[in-house]
């Protein structure tokens, strides 16, 4: 038996490309080959048109994570970009969700292929991407700009909180969102209740707006916990302690965090203002708010556009109320631009030109208006288009202002495992299988162990 294994080992060699799922590499390899062919023909055509600059073709892998025509919007921007930089051809490649973009890039690199020059991936993927040696820092590109510091300073600071590592900037915010609380203003007005300003007034409002009629209950609050860390984080921040300190330190076993878990449980157990147990309702909550089945939901600011379209009442948007009167909390989310290390230098430079172009104020404003993402630069709010939009949709400004109260989104070394551990135990607490204190203590112990290999 050992002999057979040794032969197998010798036959494969250490450089053997990764091979996990049967179908994935085949699917990934095929389009990549096609695109190289297209690339060559495109380059040939460009040589005649622009003799002074070497023509270059870059790919941009992007996900679609919201209910908006992202592909059409991006194609419009790319046309404008190519008009300004005729020697650069940009090929946008739709790649599924965020996880799929990362998977596609990983399998391309593992299979020995050339990755796309630009990938739009989660801001929190930072450490995994650095450790895998997939991305390059962007300080060099920024240094070459006329006023690089002004360019960086124009981004809303909350959106840069997951971009720095080792004093270098690794990603540029693109499609960013924040956790907010949406509420039905009409229901609040009818019941004579003011929007909440603390945990206590939040729970009281949710309790007062919970109406049971026969078999059906119209809940005061829907707060999903099927992928809990993100929506939970503003509760912890509102209690006084975010669940992470840096890439190597998570804070789960802490009285403030435990209080936040307990507050979530109490919303159903004490106040009867929310269904009990883990709520696998992320996908249905927006519909429930729009149809009046609930008065408030915790959700992403990215749902604003579709909520405004669906609902026939006045929609309120605010950060979560914090534990103390008059305090609030939120947390950012969403995807950033990364430049891939495996792409040749001339493609990396073209990629930076594209990122710089698309983070121009006009485009940032337009992208926000058309998708519901938060415009991520201050200058975007001064554009005429944004000013006009804010008159119609003042809520868009509320989502931005929620970020004033934001802490950093959970991003650590070994993120997948650490997040999985947190999800496991907070769900046990919510389902009543463990007390909040026991669950957070166990989560802390396991997460510390999972980080040990990464943080010597």
């Amino acid at each position: 038996m050992m002999a057979v294994l040794l032969i197998l080992a010798a036959g494969c060699g250490p450089a053997a490309p990764a091979e996990q799922e049967e179908a994935a590499p085949v699917e990934e390899a095929a389009p990549a080959e096609e695109e190289t062919v297209e690339e060559e023909t495109a380059e040939e055509a460009e040589v005649e048109a622009e003799p002074e600059m070497e023509p270059v073709t870059i790919q941009v892998f992007y996900p679609v994570a919201v209910d908006a025509p992202i592909a059409a919007i991006l194609n419009g921007y790319i046309e404008d970009f190519q008009a300004e930089y005729p020697y650069i051809t940009v090929e946008p490649v739709f790649s599924g969700g965020y996880a799929d973009v990362q998977t596609a890039i990983q399998t391309t690199i593992d299979g020995g292929g050339e990755p796309p020059a630009v990938g739009v991936m989660l801001a929190t993927a930072l450490y995994d991407l650095i450790n895998a040696d997939y991305i390059v820092p962007l300080d060099g590109f920024i240094g070459e700009m006329d006023d690089g510091q002004a360019y960086v300073d124009d981004f809303l600071p909350a959106f840069l909180s997951n971009s720095y590592y080792d004093d270098q900037l690794w990603s540029i915010p693109f499609q960013r969102s924040a956790v907010v609380m949406y509420y039905n203003v009409d229901m609040f007005a009818d019941a004579g209740i003011e929007p909440p300003t603390s945990w206590q007034t939040w729970a009281d409002a949710a309790q007062a707006l919970t109406v049971t009629d026969g078999d059906t209950t119209n809940w005061g609050l829907h707060f999903s916990s099927d992928w809990p860390y993100w929506l939970f984080q503003p509760l912890a921040i509102g209690a006084g302690q975010n669940i992470l300190e840096d890439d190597c330190t998570v804070v789960f076993d802490n009285q403030d965090v435990i209080d936040a878990v307990q507050f979530y449980i109490d919303l159903s157990a004490e106040y009867g203002a929310m269904p009990a147990g883990v709520q696998a309702s992320w996908a249905t909550d927006t519909t429930d708010l729009a149809s009046g089945a609930t008065a408030m939901i915790a959700h992403s600011s990215g749902s604003l556009t579709s909520l405004l379209e669906q609902s026939d009442f006045e929609l309120g948007v605010m950060p979560y109320p914090g534990r103390e009167e008059g305090t609030y909390a939120s947390v950012p989310g969403g995807g950033n631009f990364y430049i891939m290390k495996g792409a040749p230098v001339e493609k990396q430079e073209a990629a930076w030109k594209f990122i710089e172009f698309i983070s121009g104020a006009e485009y940032v404003a337009d992208y926000s208006i058309n998708t519901g993402y938060i415009a991520n630069r201050y200058s975007a709010y001064d554009t005429d288009a944004m000013q006009a939009y804010l008159v119609d949709v003042p809520q868009a400004l509320d989502t931005r202002d929620a970020l004033e109260f934001a802490g950093a989104e959970l991003a650590t070394q070994n993120l997948g495992q650490v997040r999985g551990i947190f999800h496991d135990y907070i769900q046990r607490a919510i389902n009543g299988e463990m007390t909040a204190a026991d669950a957070m203590a166990a989560a802390q112990a396991e997460a510390d162990a999972a980080l040990a290999d990464f943080c010597p």
Binding site: Q20, N131, A132, D133, D215, E433
Partner: protein
């Protein structure tokens, strides 16, 4: 006679004909399997700089997996998932086939109704089921309330019901597919046998168990095999319905494999799980064929 046989033996045509398939299988099945076996003996984690390059570790990946209570939970979940989906969807498929094999009005509509879940992509189907499972106004709870059940049951969020929820969706998805094979089998059965049985006074129940079912044994074998493989392969709805939760209660082997490779970036463990998966499928498929061939005599 023998002089005629030997040139036939050397005839290269069959080998040439089988060559493309053999190459394809070697390239896209055998080679990846060998690679997975090889990789499973190495520590390789893409998100730890010093483990980016594979380091030989013998059986460490396997030992780690089987010492991890969480992986044991995944194995238990997988077994429950298989025992919950395979027999039930095959039995349902069989009875659906009996039902739509008759000359009754509206049989076309019934066939369509049973078969349409197969045509829907699993992700869209699961998205529809999300609403069926909704605690307050979901179809399942509304149905239960009609039967006198009070209170809202939280399906996908309840640790004791989450796995059942994904099992229900898998049964709904697959039964109609298996029905098609049984239907094809039923329509090929010789009618004389049933006529003879009727003349001998066999009840329809006896005919079903003593004639129909035994005659369809080959179909059953085929369906059992693909149902078993399907049960390992289908995880799309888990991504949509439960993301393996709550507290990992609905994580099955293939979902865990995806998580290890792409969420935890643990190439070695993912390869080890791949090998375990392949071994289980191989053992099942081979024993299934051997035992059935023996009964054939």
């Amino acid at each position: 006679m023998s002089t005629q046989v030997s040139p036939k033996r050397r005839n290269p045509l069959p080998y040439i004909l089988i060559l493309p398939t053999a190459l394809f299988v070697a390239l896209f099945t055998a080679w990846p399997v060998l690679q997975s076996i090889y990789q499973s003996f190495f520590l390789q984690r893409l998100n730890i700089a010093r483990l980016r390059e594979p380091t030989f570790a013998g059986l460490e990946n396997y030992i780690d997996l089987f010492n991890d209570p969480y992986f044991i939970q995944v194995i238990k979940n997988t077994l429950t998932y298989i025992l919950g989906t395979v027999p039930v969807s095959i039995i349902l498929g069989f009875f659906f086939a009996l039902l739509v094999n008759r000359k009754i009005r509206g049989v076309g509509f019934l066939r369509l109704a049973f078969f349409h879940p197969m045509v829907l992509p699993m992700v869209s189907a699961a998205t529809i089921w999300l609403f069926f499972f909704t605690p307050d106004y979901g179809l399942l709870n509304s149905g239960l309330r009609l039967l006198g059940y009070t209170g809202a049951e939280n399906w996908t969020g309840n640790p004791d019901l989450a796995l059942l929820s994904v099992i229900i969706v898998a049964i709904w998805k697959n039964s109609g597919y298996y029905m098609i094979f049984y239907l094809a089998g039923l329509q090929n059965l010789p009618e004389e046998v049933f006529e003879a049985a009727s003349l001998d006074g066999a009840s329809s129940w006896q005919q079903l168990w003593k004639i129909t079912f035994p005659l369809l044994r080959r179909t059953t074998l085929f369906i059992t095999t693909i149902a078993f493989i399907d049960a390992f392969r289908t995880v799309d709805h888990i991504f949509v319905l439960t993301t393996g939760g709550p507290s990992r209660r609905s994580t099955v082997l293939l979902y865990e494999l995806w998580q290890q490779r792409f969420d935890f970036q643990d190439v070695g463990k993912a390869a080890a799980i791949t090998v375990i998966l392949i071994l289980v499928l191989l053992i099942f498929t081979i024993t299934n064929f051997i035992t059935s061939e023996r009964k054939e005599v």
